[in-house]
């Protein structure tokens, strides 16, 4: 230990003041490394615990299958099978956002991680972004498997005319969705032990008003409201319009280009709001003692 301690010290700055004087570049590099570091456990978990294959591929696939059989039974247009398969794939992201983003900071607090994050020199926003990126990688693999398996099993044929816009809308949907997850993370932390109840409360209603299993345009005013509020609703609607371009898509929702713009606004607003909330939360926590109170 002593030899190690001397060796490390020999390579570091010579005084506390010098050690504390970081350049902007150093601070930025630390934030970027934090993003990678925090994403790391999620990626490792995906590779190490394979039980997700059952719970997060087979079960969503079965839920999607139910709607497929219902649509077929009522002789709905064939693209409805494609709508529900796309919705089934996006379910993975929504579940990840509410269970592994929204409730995460609360869990980190109960584990004692949160105070270590706040006591470290990086921007805690980098921790949230790392969580989001780790969750994205984790969920993308699940979503991709559900999409491929369901497409093959139910013979879905996509009609894409604007691949670039589709990719952009997909990326923006995830950015806005995880931005919302970051906002919820701070909100849930403030609400403390109600986090799990809130998560459960949000899960099913959002399935419904996001139109995961049917085109949101069918909901009329509620659908329009959902599109103005929920990234999942607007993103999924735009992706369906783009992925089944030649289908008879229900009218009443904005065009994909406008929905892409809505997603950009949602992303910017949610990231800014998440950052503001995190700072407010830290300030409140330091003032009121919430950060240091593990079970509150």
């Amino acid at each position: 230990m002593a030899a190690w301690a001397r060796r490390v010290a020999a390579g570091s700055a010579g005084s506390p003041a010098a050690s504390a004087a970081w350049s902007r570049r150093q601070a930025l590099a630390t934030d970027l490394r934090t993003i990678v570091g925090r994403a790391y456990p999620r990626v490792r978990a995906m590779m190490r615990e394979r039980s997700w294959m059952f719970f997060e591929i087979l079960l969503p696939f079965l839920a999607t299958s139910t709607f497929v059989f219902v649509y077929r039974a009522v002789h709905a247009p064939p693209e409805y099978v494609g709508f529900v398969v796309l919705g089934g794939a996006m379910t993975a992201f929504w579940l990840n956002v509410i269970w592994m983003m929204a409730g995460q900071l609360w869990w980190e607090k109960s584990q004692g991680n949160l105070e270590l994050y706040f006591a470290a020199p990086m921007d805690v926003m980098a921790v949230l972004i790392g969580m989001a990126i780790g969750g994205l990688i984790l969920s993308s693999s699940r979503a991709a498997v559900v999409l491929v398996v369901a497409t093959v099993v139910y013979g879905v044929s996509f009609q894409v005319d604007q691949w670039l816009l589709l990719a952009l809308v997909f990326g923006l949907t995830l950015a806005a969705l995880y931005g919302l997850g970051m906002v919820l993370a701070s909100l849930f932390l403030m609400w403390g032990r109600e986090a799990f109840h809130l998560t459960q409360l949000l899960q099913e209603p959002v399935y419904f008003i996001s139109g995961l299993n049917f085109p949101i345009g069918r909901l009329g005013f509620i659908g329009a409201l959902a599109i103005s509020l929920l990234p999942l609703a607007v993103g999924l609607d735009a992706m369906r319009q783009l992925a089944f371009a030649r289908s008879d898509y229900p009218k009443g929702t904005p065009s994909p280009a406008i929905e892409a713009l809505i997603l950009v606004i949602m992303t910017v607003v949610s990231l800014a709001l998440a950052r503001w909330m995190l700072r407010t939360l830290e300030r409140l926590a330091r003032r009121e003692g919430r950060l240091s109170v593990r079970w509150q």
């Binding site: 190690w4 978990a45 240091s292």
Partner: protein, 410 residues
Amino acid sequence: MSAATPANPLAIDVRGVRRVYKSRPHPVVALDGIDLQVEPGELFGLLGPNGAGKTTLIKILTTLLLPSEGTARVFGFDVATQTRQLRRIMNMVAGGEQSGYGILTVREQLWMFSQFYGLGTREGWRRVDELIDAIGLDDQRHQRVSTLSTGERQKMNFARGLLNDPWIFFLDEPTLGLDVSAARSVRELVVEWKAAVPGRTILLTTHYMAEADELCERIAIVDHGRILAIGTPAELRRRVQRESIFRLELDRLEGGSRALARLPGVVSASTAADESNDRERQAVVVNLVLENDAALGGVVSALGGVGATIRALRKSEPTLEDVFVELVGRGFDDAEPPGDGDQRPNADQGLRTDHRPGTDARSVTGNRPGAGNRPGGDRTDGSDRLRADPASPDRRRPDPSSERVEEELV
């Protein structure tokens, strides 16, 4: 203590810090006007019972809490406004810490934390491997965190705390819950790490008196959010040692210990009951309380005069627990008096009963005031001792770190 300058600030400079938690029905005063200065390079201990305010002070110094009043600086950085700078040069480890992710291995977990301190990817892995070797976790390197024993886990936490090679290391009850061997191991690591480079500073909180005594260069005894005394362990012990206490083992003692008690400078002399009849060794053990060390000469001469041979002589030192009892009026493990309505006697009078066990010594001088620091001094009759409690019921506060209070925090 050397004078601090802007170029050479104190490691810790706390002035008038008060911390009040909002709580129902009354606010909880966790720190009540703390002043504390710690020099760079010191291993400083905060010693106090649960709820004394130690952890609250550490939380303030590690930027996790704001003081309600007063200022606190660490190496010149204000804990309220210069958090970024301060967080770059400090780290902390708490006892019983369960941080991190059980699915990762020890090596992976430490690497993850290294990224939070800005270590490059390769540098992070290298430092993690070096630390694992240095700290003695080589066999657990690729073991999942969730499968570690408590001691192994605490070693890993300790490694985490050293990843950024901090200038100041906050240790909050670092050996809590560890077995003797693991606790010793952690203590050795603390000492080795600090000794390797001048200027490294450690603030340690503990309620293990022996640990504080062994590790700390200076100690502050804390209770009810106030610092009651600061000094080196020896200085603190001297505060309560008003007499010199010796334990003599003699081959025989004609006339018993009464003869010794009459000698000049001897406060009391008693024969230890458990060893006075040691027929096998034919020894007589006498506990002597002298006004000062100089009086021992007279005792030795007197014993020589009656033909007694001294087989062993040991000077007894008061412990930090004696210091604490002297300052606070109760031991660490003694419960505080209950609040209003409690049925225990004396509860409504601010009085308390100290149940420290008496000894088997047969004192020849009986009970005397001011001898509470010595083994069995004023408790020879085995009776309970009543003492006015400095912490009267209206000053008593619940432990701010306890779940009950936490539930009430805003």
